[in-house]
């Protein structure tokens, strides 16, 4: 097994420690992500998932425990912390609200410039990042504030991609977008993933969205990770997920109901494609009898 590109060891985070508002947001969390992995994190609002991802590039400092990026403790030195921020790119929710430069080009180049790269390399990265998110060249000289909502979001994602992080974390990257916008952003992310073999970590509320896109799911609840595995493994725990205020994809619900009605079908399906295959195979079995 390859070693994790990023991991936490017994990570704890307590907000407002020693006050009446003390809140333990993370409790002994051991989290791992591997190179080239497409990983999903799910959890309801307040579960601790945002606190977890803010530790992964050093925005929050652990109350106790460690965060390792490429086997190095990101808090061992100032240089290590700085390095982690370049290696682990974090795209916040509604990142389009963070655009600030006069032109799209300047906005995307902000990160690479902070890394101290030369102009030629900055230019290459800006253009490549823009291409990854499907922004045409002519947009680069425009003000980001003249663009549509979907384009603004792509500019914001390009700004993080331009740092060429080995781990790209996106918090609800498709929130508020229509189905076309969702598909475009997810394709952009997948292109970056394929080209750079980066680990991608996506946080989403949509089980259906997650089911289609990720290799592995990590469930965060009450500051811990109670479930971790393939979508099929995780979605087998429907009752637990529902108790956590989450749920299972629609096709899983339909096929569990179908099974309860007495049909002999595979109820571990979670996409329309799988559901179709499961139904056809049950239908053929019936015909053969």
């Amino acid at each position: 097994m390859t070693s994790p590109i990023i991991q936490t060891e017994k990570l704890c985070h307590t907000y407002s420690a020693g006050t009446p508002f003390e809140h333990r947001a993370l409790i002994d969390v051991d989290f791992r992500a591997y190179p080239g992995e497409l990983l999903g994190i799910i959890g309801h609002t307040g579960s601790g998932k945002s606190t977890l991802i803010q530790h992964l590039n050093g925005l929050l400092k652990p109350t106790s425990g460690r965060v390792l990026v490429e086997d190095r403790d990101i808090w061992e030195s100032k240089a290590a912390t700085r390095q982690a921020r370049f290696r682990v790119g974090l795209v916040f929710q509604y990142p389009e609200y963070q655009l600030f430069e006069e032109t799209v080009y300047k906005d995307i180049s902000f990160g690479p410039r902070n890394m101290g790269l030369d102009e030629k390399e900055i230019d290459r990265r800006v253009r490549q990042a823009a291409a990854f998110v499907g922004l045409p060249d002519k947009v680069l000289d425009q003000s980001p504030f003249e663009l549509s909502g979907g384009q603004k979001r792509r500019v914001a994602i390009a700004g993080v991609i331009a740092m060429e992080p080995a781990v790209l974390i996106l918090d609800e990257p498709t929130a508020g977008l229509d189905p076309i916008g969702v598909a475009q952003i997810m394709d952009n992310i997948r292109d970056y993933h394929a080209a750079k073999n980066a680990a991608i970590i996506v946080i989403s509320h949509s089980m259906e969205e997650m089911a289609r896109r990720v290799d592995r799911l990590v469930v965060v609840n009450d500051g811990r990770i109670p479930l971790d595995g393939s979508p099929r493994e995780v979605f087998a725990h429907r009752a637990e997920l529902e108790a956590m205020g989450l749920g299972v994809p629609r096709m899983t619900r339909v096929f569990q109901r179908l099974k309860a009605l007495g049909a002999d079908v595979d109820s571990s399906v979670y996409t329309v494609e799988q559901a179709k295959e499961a139904f056809l195979s049950a239908f053929r079995r019936k015909g053969a009898m």
């Binding site: 549509s148 508020g176 189905p179 205020g245 096709m251 339909v254 329309v272 179709k276």
Partner: protein, 282 residues
Amino acid sequence: MENPILKTESLTFSYPAEEGSKLVLEGVDLEIQAGSFVAILGHNGSGKSTLAKHMNAILLPSGGKVYVAGMDTTDEEKLLAIRRTVGMVFQNPDNQIVANVVEEDCAFGPENLGVPSDEIRKLVDDSLRVVGMYDYRRHAPHLLSGGQKQRIAIAGVLAMKPRCVVLDEPTAMLDPIGRREVLETVKALNESQGVTVVLITHHMDEAAQAGRLIVMSEGKVISDGPPRQVFQQVELLRSVGLAVPETVELLYELNQEGFSLPLDALSDEACAQTLYQLLSKD
């Protein structure tokens, strides 16, 4: 009786001073009956939000007419009466809350209308009860969840006693729990309060719960009917960048394999029953 409560006639609209002044609405004719629950579905840029903003004269037609309870929205003397008839709720809860205490926020609308203060007290209490936020009336809005804030925004509109509420993607920024809370509130407005509801959304599952579904694309209405009828037009909806509920999608995909299943299963149960019948038939 002045049915319909909302009516558009050959409504066209283009934003002024934009390049080429492309039409955002290209001739929309609609009648929305008082007391109904209508969802308007469309992708970004389809014109659905622009249409919504015509429903209480935030925008005025470039061509054609819009009538609110029989009042022409271009008649400036009717503006106050139009705004009292149709209340709007927007996407971002944080942009709609003006006060530091929940009940004060709700009182903002009726205060502006010059309602006597003892009546305001009752309007505010009643509205907060309808949205299930009465227990939070002394709380600070910024400490509440997105779904709770959005329900307060709805209560603030309700306190003005509108006959119709137009909600422009009210759940787009909410998590699943918040979405459910807001949708339940919207349904209650319509069912128990008799308020006409127009819900603008791009979530199929929300649109499926309305009594009538209007689909917009490129500034035009391309489909209009009960949700279970509209969602059967899988190819039409896909061609304009919309999806259908997964239950309908599955039945549609099975029909591509040679089955001839009805495409009207909007619930998990209806879909499971349709499939079960096929598997249990001899």
